[in-house]
């Protein structure tokens, strides 16, 4: 290395830094704008819930109490209900129809109508909310992109960047599920609330000016490992929201079954959500669908560590907590195949698993120092 080279280099980077600064500022503006639009979406969801609550809801109660009376009469658990649906083809009149039945012993409750509760105006606000969410998502996505361009690398170098990417991906997952015509609109309010919290935390506490990565982070495995990690986290998060709501809805249904009278607020909110069985299935599917990807994430991380640090696995705190998260999710999947562990117990395990993921994401970066502690906090 020659002595003269350094000042030249400094000049060139300074120039580049100026353009980067502009991009970084643009990114900040976009993130703030996204927050503003998410806030509007948040209010629209609130309007959906408020207007919706006026309409008649109460299918769960109806189904459960009706079944309940019969059960009392018969002293048995009640028979599963039937759902009729069309078998493939448009000629409804001619085609045979498929009848589905819940498995015996399972409570069979119809899904709630959604946040609007069947109210037309509520539904309108709900649609507005979804559109606003989509708009906010696009703006946030632009913000993440501008950030990536400003640092000339993937935007996953510190916790601020993790946070803005994470919430953007979580909303992306939600919107994709909607686009796939899955019944997930009920999640909107819960999601925007937490996304606003996440972004608020990012811009206040975690904000880090844009900068480059240390050489250990220059690797295409970084892109693979970190992008899948963030994606898995976002999906696990969506699953966890489903799990929490499942627990609420399940207690609500249990209360109804045992003849209790849930409070008015609980009734109003929970009646509109899908049935506990649907919520449970939803969170299971979401968690199970990303679990292989999470496995891959850990393996990709091990490969990267092997290249960067000369060992594949060294029980670094970040590695350890990824492993713990993985094992607890594996436990969750096992629990669902184990007698006596289905339902609520399995749901608790899923929540513990997500808590492990969160701790790995925030806790380890903040409280524990290790090889991964490049991710500066503020």
């Amino acid at each position: 290395m020659t002595l003269a080279a350094a000042p030249d280099l400094a000049g060139a980077t300074q120039l580049a830094a100026a353009t980067n600064e502009n991009l970084a500022n643009l990114s900040n503006t976009l993130i703030y704008s996204a927050m503003a639009v998410y806030t509007l979406a948040f209010f629209a969801y609130i309007a959906e819930w408020l207007l919706g609550s006026r309409s008649k809801v109460g299918r769960t109660a109806a189904a459960l109490t009706a079944g309940d009376d019969a059960k009392d009469a018969k002293g048995s658990k009640g028979a599963p209900a039937v759902t009729v649906q069309n078998a493939g083809g448009t000629a409804v009149l001619e085609r045979p129809e498929v009848v589905t039945r819940a498995v015996a012993g399972a409570r069979d409750v119809p899904d709630g109508p959604g946040a609007h509760g069947g109210d037309e105006q509520g539904d309108l606000y709900g649609r507005i909310a979804v559109s606003l969410t989509a708009l906010a998502f696009l703006i946030a996505f632009g913000g993440v992109l501008a950030r990536a361009l400003s640092v000339q690398r993937a935007p996953w170098g510190n916790m601020y960047e993790f946070n803005i990417t994470f919430s953007t991906v979580a909303v992306g997952v939600y919107l994709s599920l909607l686009a796939m015509k899955k019944n997930v609109r009920w999640m909107g309010l819960f999601l925007t609330t937490t996304v606003l919290l996440d972004l608020g935390l990012a811009v206040t506490v975690l904000y880090t000016a844009s900068d480059q990565l240390v050489p250990a982070l220059h690797s295409y495995w970084l892109y693979i490992h970190v992008s899948t990690a963030i994606f898995c986290g976002a999906v696990f998060y969506v699953g966890a929201v489903g799990t929490i709501l499942y627990l609420f809805k399940d207690s609500y249904e249990n209360k109804l079954v045992s003849g209790g009278r849930p409070g008015r607020f609980a009734t109003s909110v929970l009646e509109r959500l899908p049935s506990s069985a649907s919520l449970d299935k939803f969170s299971y599917r979401v968690n199970a669908a990303v679990f292989p990807l999470w496995t891959f994430t850990i393996i990709a991380g091990a490969i990267w560590a092997g290249d960067a640090w000369g060992r594949y696995w060294g029980w670094d705190p970040k590695e350890t907590w990824s492993f713990i998260t993985w094992v607890v999710y594996a436990g969750y999947l096992h629990a669902r195949a184990t007698a006596g562990w289905k339902g609520r117990k399995a749901a608790y395990i899923a929540l513990i698993a997500f808590a492990c993921w969160l701790f790995n994401y925030y806790g380890v970066n903040i409280f524990v120092s290790g090889k991964h502690s490049y991710a500066d906090v503020g």
């Binding site: 085609r95 480059q212 679990f291 524990v368």
Partner: protein, 641 residues
């Protein structure tokens, strides 16, 4: 509308009988193929339910182990006398051994062990570990005089190699093997056998459809068989129905996943036993040959043999580091690479390569990593007569991220002092690649060579290197050394710029900081056999897992019989494991195809014309049908094309 009504009526029937069967599922006919399940083990177990509710039809939809309950005794009746007692004790012991084994390989215990494993991994992430940072452990023990020894006893400073942590994962793996072997046999058995016959009442299955057709029953069954086989079901005719099953890959994937876990752990353990890891610091221009003697430090697994070291050598040609010059992260490295010429074997051809932080040099089974870097200023020491007694690049260790570095120059022999006596010289060196200028603190401002300054303190006397005790090359043993003092009587200490010379007092000679400043790089050479196997295991695990989670194992039955009115009645039903969302959809598609070849017959006037199925179900008079109002929302997967 005839077919629809037909359907609903049947559903009503099915619901009736379902109530009777569903409630006491554990004691149903299914128990006979599930002998280990006693009534008390909870009715919500998948195997209990599957086997219980649908009899044979639902049995063995997976190979998951069945839950067993604690028996009172295995010994049974004890015959009088010693022989009787012995027989009883034998039966009892065998029974309990088998029971314990079954427990160990049960899902419940696997779950427990998984939990213990994750709990056990936690302390290692919060307490300093000697494997990663010996210094922090020492520091912790100093600060926590009561906790320290307790932690030490519990192995908490090396959790991942502690006895209790090993016990957890060894138990888990015993459990795993104990689980895989029988499951594999069971699965082979299932593959050899045929899908079970249709249950008597297809209406009770989770997905069901029916219609009446003009085609003959045999014809329908034949078409069904053809259709199902076309769709890669394993199908066979059984009695008045066709039985079919699909999705065996789920089990294959699941078994492959669990086996891959074993492969991974074995490969990992193997690697630990045979691995080796050594460090070598090399100054630009110097070389290294891969023998034990050449390493600065070396660690290896217990079964490592020195012959395992691959014969190769390399020379560090150049090190290049550039750093961020602006912004908050000013000074963090941007490029960081070493150019080496390496050759394999005794007289291999020489090749050029750059080694970067994420790009180790791979030679056979060894990997050469670039792990650290620093400066090695070249200094020349002359004696009183002006003869060069020392000229070398001295590697200095960086103290901070701006490469403020420290080290020592040891002139061990060849030097004679002003009186002509043999003596040794020692210099304590501080090096700042970017000195801030006079009046600033003696720390570097930047990691690159912007304004290098070498600060030297001079000593003479006995370095203590001949005492035979090992000594750090980065520290001076000052016990038998005297400081050189300047005219004012204070210790001789000067800042030198490249090319400058510091004179030692009274004609004792001089030391020159040459213009040439070399850099050094530290290389870590590791060998970890088995990592290929670990990787193969990992990949298998992922694919196995995906197959296991995304593929549904399901059964379909098609029954075609002649009804009482002489018209053929087709019934189709599907059964999957609990999370079968696509089952109704798939059944619908199959039914659609079969319907095309066996279209609906004209409505028979005999068919009881129920006005509305729903009314029937809710009819106040029919206390036999305690069915809640059918949900208005379509079941999942109802959005058929």
């Amino acid at each position: 509308m005839g077919t629809t009504r037909d359907t609903d009526v049947r559903t009503g029937d099915g619901t009736n009988s379902g109530t009777d069967g569903g409630t006491n599922s554990g004691t149903n006919s299914g128990t006979d193929n599930n002998p280990t399940t006693s009534g008390g083990s909870g009715t919500d177990g998948a195997s209990v339910r599957d086997a219980g509710e649908f009899g044979d039809a639902g049995a063995q939809l997976s190979t998951a182990p069945r839950e067993t309950t604690v028996p009172g005794s295995f010994g049974g009746a004890r015959a009088p006398g010693a022989a009787g007692w012995l027989g009883w004790a034998g039966r009892e012991a065998l029974g309990w051994t088998r029971w314990i084994w079954r427990q160990l390989t049960s899902m419940r215990v696997a779950l427990l062990l998984l939990f213990l494993l994750s709990l056990g991994a936690i302390p290692g992430s919060l307490i300093p570990q000697s494997g990663t940072d010996e210094m922090k452990v020492a520091d912790f023990q100093e600060r926590h005089t009561t906790l320290g020894p307790i932690y030490e006893k519990l192995g908490l400073f090396h959790v991942y190699s502690s006895a209790w942590f090993s016990a957890i994962y060894i138990l888990l793996f015993v459990s795993l093997i104990g689980c895989i072997v029988p499951r594999t046999w069971q699965f082979v058995g299932q593959l050899r056998g045929r899908p079970p016959r249709a249950p008597r009442l297809l209406t009770r299955l989770p997905a069901y459809t029916t219609w009446r057709t003009g085609a003959a029953p045999e014809e329908v069954r034949e078409e069904a068989l053809k259709l199902l086989r076309q769709r890669r079901f394993r199908a066979h005719p059984a009695g008045d129905a066709v039985a079919a099953e699909k999705g065996y890959l789920r089990e294959v994937g699941n078994l492959a996943f669990h086996i891959a876990l074993i492969v991974m752990l074995t490969a990992f353990a193997w690697g630990q036993l045979f691995k080796s890891e050594g460090n070598k610091l090399i100054v630009e221009g110097d070389g290294f040959a891969n023998t034990l003697m050449q390493y600065d430090d070396f660690k290896s697994g217990s079964l490592f043999d020195t012959d395992d070291l691959e014969p190769f050598s390399f020379v560090l040609k150049d090190f290049e580091g550039t750093y961020e010059t602006t912004g908050p992260n000013r000074g963090t490295p941007r490029t960081y690479q070493a150019t080496v010429d390496y050759s394999v074997g005794a007289d291999g051809e020489e090749k050029k390569r750059t080694v970067k932080v994420n790009e180790p040099l791979e030679i056979d089974g060894s990997k050469v990593y670039l792990t650290a870097h620093g400066y090695a200023p070249v200094v020349t020491v002359r004696d009183g007569k002006g003869d060069v007694v020392y000229r070398q690049a001295v590697p200095l260790l960086p103290l901070d991220s701006n490469s403020t570095s420290t080290g020592v120059v040891k002139v061990m022999d060849g030097y004679r002092n002003a009186e002509g006596e043999k003596e040794q010289l020692g210099f304590q060196a501080f090096f700042l690649p970017a000195y801030g200028g006079d009046g600033t603190a003696v720390v570097s401002q930047f990691p690159a060579l912007l304004n290098p300054v070498l600060n030297l303190e001079a000593y003479h006397g006995d370095l203590g290197v001949d005492a035979g005790l090992p000594q750090s090359v980065y520290q001076l043993e000052k016990r038998n050394l005297k400081e050189f003092r300047n005219a004012k009587g204070t210790q001789l200490r000067e800042n030198l710029r490249p090319g400058e010379t510091m004179q030692l007092p009274d004609g004792a000679g001089s030391i020159t900081f040459e213009k040439e400043i070399k850099e050094w790089a530290n290389f870590q050479v590791t060998r970890q056999p088995g990592s290929g196997w670990a990787l193969a295991g990992a990949l298998t695990a992922i694919f196995g897992l995906a197959a296991s989670l995304f593929i549904q194992r399901r059964r379909v039955w098609v029954r075609a019989v002649t009804g009482p009115d002489g018209v053929t009645v087709v019934e189709m039903a599907g059964l999957g494991r609990s999370e079968s969302a696509r089952l109704p959809e798939e059944l619908g598609v199959l039914a659609g195809h079969l319907y095309d070849v066996a279209p609906g017959a004209a409505e028979s006037p005999d068919t009881p014309d129920t006005p509305d199925a729903q009314d029937t179900l809710d009819a106040p008079g029919s206390s036999e049908t305690p069915t809640p109002e059918p949900p208005a929302a379509p079941a999942e997967g109802a959005e058929t094309k």
